[in-house]
Structures are given as C-alpha cells and as structure tokens.
Symmetry: C3
Subunit: 352 residues, 3 copies
C-alpha cells in the first residue's frame, strides 16, 4: 500500500530532493511541477523522443499512428492566466498524441463563481480526465494539485504550464531542447549564454537557469537592469550547482561574447505600482544594428511573446532561432506527455 501522509504544510517544507521522489509514482513521472525535476538522463530521452515525434508528424502515416497511442486519454487545460502559445502548443501536442482536450480558460464560466475552492475544481477535472495541464497566477496551485491527487491516490497526471512568476518548467524544457540542437551543431568548448532582460520576474528565465545545471561547459552572463536582477534563491542555486555566472547591466557591450543570446520581455503584468515605468528597458533591446556585433554562429532565442526587445527585421537573420524555438515547444511538450504516460518506447519503435 502507498503511504502518502504529508499534510500540505508538511509537504511544502520538504526539501526539493524529497519532493522529486514523491512526484514519481510506479516509476512514472506523474507530476511535472518544477524545472529542477529534469535530470540530464531524462532530458536526453525527451530530446530523442521529441525528434522522433517531429519526424513522424511529417508523414500522414506517422501522424496517424501517433494519434492512436493515447486515443483513450482525456486532458483538461486549466489556464486562468492569459496565454496563447503555451496553451496552443499544449493543446496541439495533446492532439498529436490523440488525447481529447477540454479547456477552462478563466473563472468566468466556472464553478469558482459559485464559491468553489480551487482544490475542489482540481478534483473535478480529475474526475473526468487523465491529465491536468495548468497555468495560474497562484504560485502554489499546480504543486497543491499534485499534492492533493497524490494524497488521494488518484491516477491523474499534472503538468505545471506556468505558476505565477515562479516556474515555467516546460518552457525550460523547450529552451533546453533548443540549446541542445544549437550545441549539437556547434564546435565543442565552453559556451557563453547571455540571458537578458527581466530576470527577477521572468519565470522563463528562472526555469531556464534551473535546467541549465544539466548542461556542461556553460557560462552565464546575466544582463538586466539593476531592479530586475535575479532573485537571491536563483543566485544560491547557481552557486550551489557550480554554474559559472556574471551579473551585469551592460547589454550591448557583452553581445560579442555570446554563443546564445536569450532575450526576455519586461514582465510588467507583475508590477505592483507601475515600477516598470521607471526602468529604461530600451538599452536591453536587441536592435538590428547590433547583429554585426554578434558571433556568426550564435543563436538568438526568446520565449515570446515579444514587444520590441528584438527588432522584427532580425527574424530574417539565420541566427534568429526563436520561431524554431516556439515550434520546439509543441514537440517538446508532446514528448513530455508521451513520456509521462509511459509510451516512449512505443513511439521509438515505430518504423516506416
């Protein structure tokens, strides 16, 4: 018999290493809540699987075969924050694998209007579907969902698709997948990754940093306006995992060192009192004229959506990888879902 007795209060205090074990059930990754769950070995499997899914999807035969694998599963996408690309890429990732989807986009049409607790809402999704993919303002909600279903011994999987300004682990996954592709084609040797912009509130940047501990030979250049520097817990994570990093607010000056330039948008939706207005973010914009400063084989990434951090004319440059990165999101997410449902071998065995 399983024995999961932690109260929510106890659970929250557990060290991450302990939590990681509890998020696996019957040797299956049941709940993907934070980026630190991705170990190198799992990442390599996910990358190979994503490559295979993308390849299979190019032919009707392959695409049709993929859709048979999880045709008996149903997913709920519970997104109470605005989202286009994370939502759409998950939705389509489900369809690629044959999973049927239902969505709840906000509280407006929901029972929460009638006074239902978020926990009861989660249990309701678990009543009808096999997978809950959730993005919410509440930083704790995805984790609490996993705790709740774990405790109640419900066989329903949970994926955190963005929890407040905290974590966005599948963004980290697709970023890692894109970095993996970039480094596969590059010369060996230490790589310098510039991460620029709002490093304080950008959960994409935060989750990326967590996953980077799985990459050897990288060095981080964290470039941000002073008020938007990484938070202390991230700094500690970097130190603890011996990841080389430098913090600076000099953007243009450092571009020439970069093998990867990871741009981010100012996250002013998390402003408390319009503090973003006080910041000159324009010096953290990648302008077309800067292209000549950048290495010939560098790669420019961005989690998107962008405003004007990256000039639109840069899209035509071969080093602009953000649209490819976006498409990688769908493949990486399909890969993750397939892995969580234990069908990676079924997919790897498909042969034409």
């Amino acid at each position: 018999m399983r024995n999961f007795k932690y109260s929510w209060e106890e659970y929250q205090k557990l060290p991450i290493s302990k939590k990681k074990k509890l998020l696996i059930r019957n040797s299956e990754l049941s709940y993907l809540i934070f980026a630190q769950q991705f170990e190198r070995k799992v990442l390599e499997k996910l990358f190979t699987l994503a490559d295979k899914i993308r390849f299979l999807s190019k032919s009707k035969e392959g695409a049709d075969k993929l859709q048979t694998l999880l045709s008996h599963k149903r997913a709920t996408l519970f997104f109470s924050q605005p989202s286009t690309r994370t939502f759409k890429s998950f939705y389509n990732a489900c369809h690629i694998l044959g999973i049927k989807t239902t969505e709840l986009r906000d509280g407006a049409s929901s029972s929460q209007k009638k006074g239902e607790s978020p926990e009861d809402t989660i249990l309701t999704f678990a009543s009808y579907t096999d997978l809950i993919i959730m993005r919410n303002n509440e930083e704790w909600l995805a984790e609490k969902a996993s705790w709740l279903l774990n405790k109640k011994n419900r066989v329903v999987k949970v994926i955190n698709a963005g929890s407040g300004k905290d974590q966005h682990p599948t963004q980290a996954l697709l970023d890692a997948y894109t970095l993996h592709q970039a480094f596969s084609k590059a010369k060996s040797g230490k790589k310098t990754i510039v991460i620029a912009g709002d490093l304080k509130r950008g959960r994409a940047a935060r989750s990326l940093i967590y996953i980077l501990k799985n990459f050897k030979d990288v060095k981080l250049l964290l470039i941000s306006p002073e008020p938007l520097k990484i938070e202390n817990d991230v700094r500690k994570f970097l130190l603890k995992n011996y990841i080389e990093f430098i913090e600076t607010d000099k953007f243009k000056e450092n571009l020439k060192k970069a093998d990867v330039i990871y741009m981010t948008r100012i996250q002013d939706e998390y402003d408390v009192s319009n503090e973003s207005k006080e910041i000159d973010y324009s010096t953290f914009h990648l302008k077309k004229s800067y292209l000549k400063l950048i290495k010939k084989d560098a790669v420019i990434m961005h989690p998107l959506p962008r405003r004007d951090e990256v000039d639109i004319e840069i899209d035509d440059d071969e080093r602009a990888w953000y649209w490819k990165q976006e498409r990688n999101g769908m493949w990486a997410r399909a890969s993750l879902i397939a892995y969580m449902f234990g069908i990676e071998n079924d997919i790897m065995k498909i042969n034409f």
Copy 2:
C-alpha cells in the same frame, strides 16, 4: 407522415404525460427535457449501460472501441450559464463515445449580439450538429428548442443540462444512478433520504425528487430553512405519487435517521434582493463533528460545487460519496447519449 401541429402556446398547456410521448420519435428518446421522463424501466437500462461504459473505458481496447460508435456525430454544447462540472462531464461523455464537440459558452461571441433570437440560434446549431446540449437561465428555452425541432421535423436531439432554477434532469439521473449503487450494497428495507438545504431554488433537489418516484420503499426528510422549503408544485407531486415525506427545519437532530444525506448549496445566484443574507444557513452545514451521529453505512451526497455545507475533512470518510457521484455524472451522461442515439445494444454486445 408525422403530424405535429401544436403551436408553442398550445404545447405548453399539454399535460406532462402527453408531452412525454411527443418527446419520443420513432421509438427513440429524442429530447430529454425534464426529470419526469425517466421511468423505472429506462433508468434500469441506463444504469446497466453506464456500468458497461465505465468498465469498457478502463481498457484502451474498450475505450477505443467506444469511440467508434458515434464518431460520425457532432454535438453543440450551448451553455449560457456558468458551469464547470455539468459542462465538462458532458463534453467528456461525448468524447468517450467519439462525438465531436463545439461549444457556445455565452452570448458574448454569438450572433445574439447582432440581435438574433434564441430560436434562430437553436436552428443554427441544428444546421451543423446532431445533438444540442443546453443550459440556460431561461427556464423555457430547452423545452422550446425541442418543440421547435419537433415541429420542423429536424432529426437533431436535445438534452436539457439545466434550465434556470427549474429542472436539471441529468443531475437527477446521476443522482439516481448513485442511489442505485448505494442501495444495491445496502440491506433491504425502507430507506430514509434526507435532502437538506435550499429546496426552493435548487433545481438539483427538485429534479431528484421527481426521479425518486421510481424508487420503491423510500421516505424523504426534507430539511430546509423555512424560506427555502420546497415549492407547492413539488409538494403536490409527492402527494400525487404517494411518496412519503416530512418537512422540517431541524437538520442536526434528524441526521441519525438518514440512509442517504443529500446536501445542497444555497442558490443565492437566484436572489432577487439579497434575501439569502437574511437566512442562517450554517445550521444546515454538515460538520465533521456530526459524522459520529450518522449511520455507519449511510451515504453522503452533494451535487457540487460546495461552499461550506460539507466540511472538507469529511471527504476522507468512507461515507462521503460526492466525488464518486460526480464521476458518475460522466458515465450516466455518456449512457444517456448512447441510449438516445440507439446504440445501447451495440455497447452491451462489446465483449473482450
């Protein structure tokens, strides 16, 4: 040739026994509008079918087979009232049977903004899909939809998924299915069913009472604050059908008598002038400390969502059946849809 000549005004005045016949076309239940349509014989079929669908859904083979049966059908879910669980359970019930779904959640994105009548909107759904599942504030709309399609001889089915504060027949169906399960495991003899809370405006309670006439040997204890007692038409129904019942406002005192305790939420969304504020609903809450008062083999039900009518700690008690009841909603609705499309024998014949 069919002959359906009733004007809407004439139709409304027909006795329910006459309407029941008109809602069946070519011996198929075409329109499920009110709970009184469920006769014992049909209920038994639906329960057996729901059991079978649930069983088949446990295996990939069974789930895949089920999805082939109505793969050529399309449904519209027209929900202009907030709903999570009824919506999601219907949506997933459709997917279980392979039905393709489209939804219209409110008037905001609809042609009603351009001045279209609800009748024309219904006809539009009938143009594109084979089944309309609808929940609306207007108590008459689902019935009018059935009248309209019947009159126009359109072969499109209609299910009432909640009409104002009037009826919620599929809630009654899933409640009956859950009671059926509870009574199957219980000793024989007369059963006392407590229905507690807002009995005036709770359409779940109302529809449950209608369907209970199909259960022998039950006795109702209707417990509510004085201003939220059952309406006179329900009282007449009980008398006419010789269902034993007592009305009282003593909740705690009566719990020990119950074989089933059916809790309901105060339906303050139907308040005219905040009258709910005047009522002390807290004495109609099932508190954890009351568990010791309740029979060992009793069953606690709730249509959900709940606020604090049922303490969350009660969830862990074996007698708490409301989450099971919720899941029953999906199976019972899948069963109903299958029955309405005449595929119950196809499902019962599936063998592994």
Copy 3:
C-alpha cells in the same frame, strides 16, 4: 527556388490579377482571401465536391471515411469578431474532414494582451497548425497573414472568414452554391436577383456581387435605402464585368420581378455615430403578406443572423431557402478546405 520579394507596401499595390496568382503555391490554392479568387471552373469543382461530401456524411461509413483524409492536419480558428454561424460551420467542416481544431475567440486570453503584434500571433498559429481560418475587424489582417506566410515560405494555409466590413469570401461561396442549386432546378433564361438592405456595409452582399460574375444570364436589382447604397468600387466592378444592374430604393414594388431575393440585415455594428437610427429600414423588411407578390418558384435567401428583415412565419414557406443556405455553409466550407489541401480527387473516388 521561390522568389517572393514583395514588401507589404509593394504587395498591397499589386493588381488583383497578380495577387490571385501569388495566392496559389505549387498549383494549390494556399490562401483564400477575397471572393474574386473564385473562378467559374473552380466553383464548379467546389459545388460537385460539396455535393459529394454532403452525400457521404449521411452514412456512418461515409462520414468515418471522410474523417480519415485530413486526420493529420490541425487548424486554428482565429475569430476576434463575434460569430456564431461562420465559426461553427468552419469548426464542424474541419471535424467532417478529421482536422483537429483550436480556437482563439478574442484578445482577452491572448498574447496580444502582453503587447504582441498581430503578425507575431499569426506566426505562432503557423508554428502549431496547418491552416488558419480568421475573422477580424482589421480589413487587412487576413491578407497580411497570407503575405507574411508566403514571404516566409511557410506551408500553412489561410482562409479569410470575414475581414471587417470588406470581404467574406466563403459567404459568397455558400451563396453561390445555393444559387447554383436554385438555378439547377429552375427553367433556363435570365434570372433576376434582388439584393436588398444594407449594401454599403454588408460584406456578404459585397462578396456575393464579386462572385456573381461567374454566373451567366443574371440581372441584379440592388435595393437599399439611399445612405446604404453599394460603394463606388462595387459599382465599377459591375460595370467592368458587364453585369446588368439597377439601383433603387423601392423594395415592395420590385419583389414580383425576383427569381432570387437576397435579404440582408442592417450592419449597425459599423455605425460611426448611430447613423442607422436615422434610416427607416422597415420598408426593406420582407413581410409575410408580401409572399403573395413573389413568384411561385422564387427563392428567398439571407446570410443570417436576421433581426426582423424576414418575418419568422415565412420560414414555413417552400421558397424560404435561408436555412438550407446556412447548412450549405458547412458543406461549402468543407469542400473548400478539402480542395485547398488537394484531396478533392480522393473524395470524389470514394464509392459505396
């Protein structure tokens, strides 16, 4: 290698004959943006195909077969304007062909809230799906989407499902399909088509006129209040294509001449300063009492939704074809999508 070098500014200035060629890629119609793209030869193919799809859909075997053809494709429905019937008919048309669908109904849940440009939103849909069906207030957006994807050499198709008050080419297609059915059953000879109502701002009326150049032997009676007459560019189109037409504001007096009466709603959503209030639209209503003025074999059409331009009692008259016309929308759209994905021969070959 393809060579598509036009900037957006250059592209907009191209003559329509040149654009029409650019909207075809590898002999496939990749982008359906304006009604003028429908030539007689293509229309005939589309009508035959629509007939076949409708026929196949009547049997489970046929419907199931159809769903296998594009089961590997995914579509985005990007509708930022209210729409019921266009949206639903496209959605179900996709499902008829097995295409998986995702929708974006407005900006509320979208990245545009975070400051993303519409162009980036379009590229995002193109990252995940094979077809974008779009309806927007911005008259230029569908065309810009086609330009953008053409320029970037992305193999993603675009259908304009209504661009501001400008174009609604698939409405024109379904209208033409309905006219084709009407004329097939009629005696030969010149046909008089009355188009009545808001001809200035009704994109349905505008698109219909564009497609009518493919019909021989038609004569148009354009009946509208003085302030809602056709725009000058439409008038020029009629003259240039030698389509006989008369403009008048006499509605009732002209009904007797009509072989087809195409009614339209006043498009007051495009009012700048409530100018519709100044217009007496009631003299452009088709009243039940007018039925006796109309030819016995005439056909009454309306793009729907209607307000009170057409009396509801007229629905029961055999000449009322607007509900049939509405259903034609789904078949015509399925036909168009099938054609754009090059599977028309696969469908025509299906035999039972």
